[in-house]
Amino acid sequence: MTRECAALLPGVCAALADPRQPGLDDTCLEKLLDWFRSLTWFDPTAELVQDNPCLTELISSVLALPEPSPSILSFTLQLAGILASSENRFQHLQQEQLLGRLFGPAGPQGSAVWEEASVRSGWVKGVHSMVLHLPALHFLCSEGGMDVIFALQGDPSLFVASAASQLLVHVLTFSVESETSKPLSTKDCDWPACAQRIIKHIEASLQSSSASHVEPSLKLLTSLFGSCYAAWTEVLWLNIAKQIESFLVAETFQAQHLLGNLLLNMARSPVFSDTEGSFWALVTSALEHLTPVQAGPLAAGLLRLCKCPQDVRIQALTVLLQPMDCILRAASQPLEYAGLLDESVSDPVTVESLLSSKTSCTGLLCQTLAHLEKLLSLKHLRVDLPCVPLLHSLMTILQFCNGFLSPASPLGSTISRNLINCFRVQKSALDVLAALAEKKGCDTVIRSLFDVLLPYLESPNTSPTVLKKAFQATSKWLVRLQELSCSNSQCQQTEKILEDVFLVLQKRLCSPCWEVRDSSLEFLAAVIKGLRDQDEFRQFLLSSEVPRLAENLLEDPESYVRASAVTAVGHLAFITYFAPESPVMGNLCNKENTVAKLQEILSTDSEGFPRRAVITIFTKWLREGCTGQLEDTQQFVSAVIQTVEHDLDWEVRLGGLEMVEVFCSKTIHQLGLSECPYAPVSSAVTSPTPQNLLQVFCRAKLFGFLFRSLCDCDKPVGQRACDILIGLRGRFYPVSTLENPQEIEDSPAGHSIAWLQRTLRQGSLAQNFPTDGSNGVDFQDPESMMLALGAIDLLELHDELNKSSDHMEKSPQSLLQDILATAGTIEENEVDCY
């Protein structure tokens, strides 16, 4: 603790203990506790409490208050816990006879203020901080603390209940790990006393017939097995396994939903996953007996595990696929499809009944689909997903949802009725559909898939959010479709699909609903990205109205749409203007017009999104080498930089810096220099001098932008500019920088660069770069810039910029001052009253 803080602390403690204080800002108190935590963390001595008696005084004066405010009492409990976290300070507080009055029977439990959840929560947190050594543990056990914690497990406040449960896990773990020396067995006598109490409590409550007793213990076990992977957890488990097992089959048991989580946490623990037999048998049984809604998260979790028997994995997958299978069967004529599953894990009637009611049907399907989407995104799924039937099932769901499928069974009719116009299910199903496009093996059904997707794109009834998803799925599958080798008839089908897609895209681009125009443009950009090398696609695109419509939307009244139009038109340019054989574009605008239009947006658009989109697309063009020869590119970059430099949106300025970075590395590459300054220079190439490079950069007016950005009011911009400059310096000063001030001063531009050096040193803090002239600094003069790069301590600047902006305000001293200032206002007000 600094001396300044130590001086402020007594005043703060007095203010906190003052009952006339209005409730201090909770975040202030939290910060104060954080500070004490950091002070005590590595310091087991009692110095803190000895040197600052005001701390114990604060505790005793709060305890002496007849009606302490809940927030101050809660704070005091937590503070005492933190202070008591080392044995020395614990003893000190015990001598002061404080701990018993806080955490013992004489504590706040019996008082009216205990009704406040914040006080109970403070008590639990305090105990949690304190129990880090055996005396505290023994104190807790001997002073009746355990019973309080047990009671708090069922607290009406979920935060308190959860904290109590975490505390028990902590106490149990701590007790077992610090009080035993030899490995534990199932016999009672081997457990330390405190652990034994907790275990007895768990066992007893699991025997109870009331869910309100069973649930807290299940939660406790869940978090214990989730956080502690010690061997003794298995000993504990063996005592209760039978009971848990019985819960799975008990029909009247109310807390089945908790079992999935418990088993999943156990499956993640090496203690259980390495065992063979009984544990996995229990998991299998759970997959069978829990309802599909309860078993879903368990199944999805199991499928992500590395260590899981393959048969359990298959069973978990079966559980997840069951609703999909049921849908498929309900919709199709017998024998039309084989279904998804050969056999089901649990009773299919349960799934059927869930699908028969509207709420549970949408709930179950959305949950299942969300799990499937996540699984599909995994790189290594250790089971084979039956992609084709899954795709069939998804298509069925989607057709149920828009009423296009007339079901063949009574169950199908019910499901269809439940799903018609259900946007949630539509969206989830389309997500999975999009994810499935990445998987191989669905090629046989790909064409019929478009029969399902196209009506979604075409129907005016499709809601904008669903349409967006439908577009996303379509773009992925279109890419997939083009990858397939084409037989003649298939080619015709593909052409038909493309034709339909462009027809509907054309219409959607004219929609009065901006969300629709926006997602149509996003779709356009996505398909161009994926398919711009495909001749067929290019032909369809260019012969349609789409390019013209997209260019029109650059003037859309909605800024999001303009932004998407910029991206789409930017991608379109790869096909139209930048393609090796640029096609004849009829009435479409020419390249110059488009670039000019985008530049106009960059300089004049009133909203940030379109401007950001322009700078992003320009950078993309640059990266892909579409901006012409070095000369043209240099001019282009220079023009863009000058526009961007004064943009009000920091993301645009940041985009500008990214462009500069790309330009630099491109130019270096283009001039035949290696990206790495230390690489051996190949003697065959006549390597251009760094001076050439510097000239190019100066002509492009990079340096003015970069140096000014160092003082940008938005830090990410300054940081990025600094990074780029450091990179450049590495190229021009591979070995050392100019450290001799004399060397700087002696050079012709020395004076102005020294000024720049000074300005930046202040500027990065003051965050303003003089706008009126730059005191003779010529940012386009290669020599000056060479000097500047060498002279300015960019690394120091970098460190300065990396300090968080509130590093001044965050210091404990300022926190203490804040608290005192708040307290001070009270006194002033009092004076006012008089």
Binding site: G403, S413, S416, I420, P460, K507, C510, S511, P512, V516
Partner: protein, 657 residues
Amino acid sequence: FQYCLSGHPTLPCNVLKFKSTTIMLDCGLDMTSTLNFLPLPLVQSPRLSKLPGWVLKDGSTFLDKELKECSGHVFVDSVPEFCLPETELLDLSTVDVILISNYHCMMALPYITEYTGFTGTVYATEPTVQIGRLLMEELVNSIERVPKAQSASMWKNKEVQRLLPAPLKDAVEVSMWRKCYTMPEVNAALSKIQLVGYSQKIELFGAVQVTPLSSGYALGSSNWIIQSHYEKVSYVSGSSLLTTHPQPMDQAALKNSDVLILTGLTQIPTANPDGMVGEFCSNLAMTVRNGGNVLVPCYPSGVIYDLLECLYQYIDSAGLSNVPFYFISPVANSSLEFSQIFAEWLCHNKQTKVYLPEPPFPHAELIQTNKLKHYPSIHGDFSNDFKQPCVVFTGHPSLRFGDVVHFMELWGKSSLNTVIFTEPDFSYLDALAPYQPLAMKCVYCPIDTRLNFIQVSKLLKEVQPLHVVCPEQYTQPPPTQSHRTDLMVDCQPPAMSYRRAEVLTLPYKRRYEKIEIMPDLADSLVPLEIKPGISLATVSAVLHTKDNKHVLQLPPKPPQPPASKKRKRVSDEVPECKSLKPLLSGSIPVDQFVQTLEKHGFSDVKVEDTAKGHIVLLQEAETLIQLEEDSTHIICDNDEPLRVKLRDLVLKFLQKF
């Protein structure tokens, strides 16, 4: 009772006999019959006049003057005719009042008021009447300005009709089809209308009170509450819960109905109006961008206001500001202007604009800036101003008459042009049939803002009527989508359905009638508490009934006893206050009664159970005592003392007051 005179669920015509009144609910005119006729071109159409006559299979040609063939369809070449509501089911001259719910549902009014001997009153809101008049005027105008010499009737002969191809063969009640009415008939019919405002209570003969409520569908559109003191019938017709221009629907007042008659739901339950408006705009923009023209066949009022409002917001963003919009109808001007003056009938947003003051609808601005121009017909100014590409709104949506016929002929040959159907009343394929082959693009985006089935089920849950009555079409899924069981009215108990020409007994029972007691009579009553909370009093009074109101009055005072003790004449006897016999109440417990009889010496008592009570037999005395719920009879032969004795025993068990 309900007499169902129309088979068209959105153009209803029902007659309700309720209490002693006969109330007609709407008189919609089914104009789909006109689809069987050839269009009436404003300008001589060589194509139409050259259509070949229809020849029967056996080669006979006697119908070739009346029927023409076009692309495989057969059309009647005559003035279009309409299918009237059923007029034979009951004597329509007995109808006391007609309640109109919206301007689309009054198009048959002249046929009813001018041809059936109707002498009653028609009730409707002001916008309904004014816009209804415009619709009728446009209809009459469109048909009258293309006089057709020929009137075909031969094909209607039942024997002949059988030989015709569908759909003429299956057309119903063709003998009932009538030509359009005339303007004088329209004026006469409209003169019988009495204007009403929302929530205004209208007494019908004292027996029934009717009240119009906002239905949210169109300017001035209403649902009706028809109620007596103890029964309430709600008539829901053409309602909308969407936020468009009219005042929102008043749902609360529909609560506690005994019967809710549900008509006028959306005709396109699978099409969501928002999506359709989007579709409309997109197709319009695409066509115009490609240099094509857009034709929108529509009514001169209603959805067109909303479409113009959407376009107002859309055209600038879609870069269509320079495209002219034309609205052509004999009533175009009146319609656009009327819409601006019915402020009190508009939704809240539009009402507040009036106070700014701004015109509630933005089409005023479109007109001011010359983006929207309106003309009474294609003749005159329009032909001078006409610029292409353009967008034309004009009637009639059936494509059989009105200026739309001209544009169909003019633009039909080019695939650049598009006709966009927004009115849901006519099948667009049928409407287009006489124009085939057609190169013009056709887009069907029916915009029907009326209730869909999801909204209906919410509404019914909300207002909870005891019974729902609706057209049979609403009780089953649409014929083309039999799996869509979500597209039907789903309620408990299941809705009662009706079809054309059916008479339905509505499932409410009249159980009570309200009677007023005059204060002086009430004063004279002496209630006697027979159970806690229940008191009874006997009343002697004169029941006075006039205009279906019942009043109990004090009986006239008996004439002063004449000085002479001359006997009164029988005819003078009034229900005078002679000493009243006490009234009896209670029931007779048979077992105790038998015991009592036995106590009093009747030894041979036998009891038989009957359907209504018991018979106590005294065999020796040959006497019967019938004990029933509301009467007791003692039947004995000429033994008056015995009868009196038995009577007294019976009376012991009863309370007197």
